[in-house]
């Protein structure tokens, strides 16, 4: 079972994603800020991180930075959540190692789930599986 980490400060957004993923059989944890997210990664390396860029108390960029600097975490696939108009932030995120992005308001939740499935496809076994698939 794949383990997904959601870093998102909007509770109901995170919940919606979590509920849908759990129904699909994923294990999901939610961090409300960057600091918490890193702590959770330290506790258990996820198979995919859904990362909101704008969070209080250390944002998504902080997380990306931490991930980059850790050899163990470098290869965790990261899909970044953004709001419309965050183009500059997106570019920055991608340059910092994010694999893909989602403009929240533009896509139904279906597509989020599909995207998660895509990045975790070769990752049926739970735990340490690192998906090297890079999608643009």
């Amino acid at each position: 079972m794949s383990y997904i980490l959601i870093a998102e400060d909007e509770e109901f957004l995170a919940r919606a994603v979590k509920d849908n993923l759990e129904v699909e059989g994923y294990e999901v944890q939610v961090a409300e800020n960057g600091e918490e997210a890193v702590k959770l990664v330290q506790k258990r390396v996820p198979d995919l991180i859904l990362l909101d860029l704008l969070m209080p108390k250390k944002d998504g960029f902080y997380v990306l930075e931490e991930l980059k600097n850790n050899p163990e975490w470098k290869l965790i696939p990261v899909v970044v959540f953004s709001n419309l108009g965050d183009d500059t932030n997106l570019k920055k995120a991608i340059s910092m190692g994010a694999n893909d992005y989602f403009v929240k308001a533009q896509h139904p939740i279906e597509e989020v789930i599909d995207k998660v499935k895509e990045y975790t496809r070769t990752n049926r076994p739970a735990g340490q599986g690192q998906d090297l698939q890079k999608k643009n």
Binding site: E10, F12, L13, A16, V23, N83, L84, K104, A105, I109
Partner: protein, 678 residues
Amino acid sequence: MNGKKNNPIKFFVFTIASILLIEFVILTVLGRWTNATKFWEDLISELFLAAAVSPVLYFFFLRPLAKEINERKEAVERLHESGKELNEAQRLGRIGNWNWDIATDTISWFEEYYRIFGLDPAQRPPKYEEHLKAYTPESAARLDAAVKINTQSGKPYELDLEIANPKGSARWITARSETKRDIQGKIIGLRGTAQDITERKRAETEREQFFKFFQLSTDIMVIADPLGCFKKVNPTALRILGYSESELLSKPFIDFVHPDDQQPTKDEMARQMKVGASLDFKNRYMCKGGTVLWLSWRANYDKKDGITYATARDITKERQAAEINEKLATVVRYTDDGVISMDIKGIVTSWNKGAEIISGYDEKEAIGKNISELTVPQGKTEDLEVSKNTIARVSKGERIENYERQIMKKNGNVVDVNMTVSPITEESGKITGISVIARDITKAKEIERAKNDFLVLASHQMRTPLSGTRWMIETLKRGIFGKLEGKQKEYIDEIYKTNNRMIDLVSGMMSMLTLESGAAFKAKEKIAISKFSDDIISVAGALAESKKIILKDKLKGRDDAYIYSDFQAVKNILECFVSNAINYSSSGKEIEFGEKEESGEAIFFVKDHGIGIPEEEKKHIFERFFRGYRAKAVKPGGTGLGLSLALLIADKIGAKISFESQEGKGSTFYLRLPKENV
């Protein structure tokens, strides 16, 4: 009779001596000399006889005879003298005379008469018909008529006639006639005179001309006496002042002057009497009927006879215009708005205080400089282009209102100004300059920006919960918490649609706000037309497929053609057109989109066979939040912002949107990019 006094004595002596001599001769002849005593006796008695006879002879015969001879001589001399005098008189007075006898048809001319007609007095006078030719046709006709009347009725004439003078100026004579009658009263002839009046006529004509001048002049012309009354006024004076001549002459003219100007006028007159002339003195006159007129005077004072000759002009209108100009100038001077005038190239020709306050440059620094170079912030070449462009447009006659721009003050600060830029035309219609009225709206703009920022932030904040609710509703719809039945499904579906509408509205608002703040769509890059094909398909493909609508992509493969514009802008507009086309077409219909070139313009088109736009709605479709009634029926969740946004974007990039549509048949929307974008 000189010397005649001596004559009697001479005569006596002569008489006596002659008688004695005769006696002596007779006696000698008769031989009566017998003796000497008898001789001497006879002699003495003869002497006494002679002495007695001679006075008698003298007084009764010789003297009267001599007198008569003298008188005759004197008479002839006198006649001669008077003849000479007459000639002299005639020559002096330029009068010639003639005499005509009807019976014999002889005409005599006398010296001066010849001279008047430039003929030789030694010659015979010309015949009457010949003589008529000397006059101008008009004068000849008059003379002929008068002569005929005179000969028939005896009515003499007196005419001024003009002698034709081919060599030079006209010569004039006064011709007078007199009728000659016999004892019975029958007309036997005419006599007459002709007086050369050329000089007089010339003087008269000149005088007439000057008088005409006085009469016809459109300036007031007056003559005033030393007492300060008008002596003579010309018709223009009467017309302008409104009084009759008698009214104007009845009082001192100062009475007609406005009370406030009376003292200055009196002072001016006093000054004039010393100096002799006054030039350009202005005062107000009270005209008949109460109007007050401003007059500008030029007067000359003749010291010798104390007469003033003056002309005046009504300058009331000019003064009013000057007053208005002065008022306007004051307004311009004291307003906080910048009032600037320039020539058609943008060189500043006038600069008011307001402009100084706004820009920091004073009059001296601004006049003569190019407005664009003066005010465009350093380095903003694009703004410089826009500024120069604007000036070019206005110099061709366009008027631009609400032109907002940032300008750089002298101290380097940037301020926002709102300007109205208009062409200055003269009466002929030629554009001679440009005027700018500028208002500093920095504060207002700041408020506007703050509002805008707030709205952007608010919209942004709204998005997040809306996205959240969307995902939550979708999660419900997915049925992971249990399948939705009947009313549950219905309600959830409605909630979903409404939520989406709100998301769209917020998106639309955000886009509008971004556009209005002016930041977006400034990029200019070379874009292959085919690029838009990929984009549209990626955005609209799925939607089209779901509605089973066929997209005919004519942009695909167009690598040959390029446009030079902002990619996002053109993309957004085309996406708007295509999504509208899809939304408002029913299943199975076809939508075609492509680009063609026409007179140097790149024209994108999106053609559908959908619901079309009713006539009465056509003028509203670009209005914010407007939804056509059919459109609403087909897509109730629309925001009504799509086309207004597209229009805003098009404006920003200098493109034009147009459309053709028929209700029930379909619509075609066009996006035209101007030449420089191609």
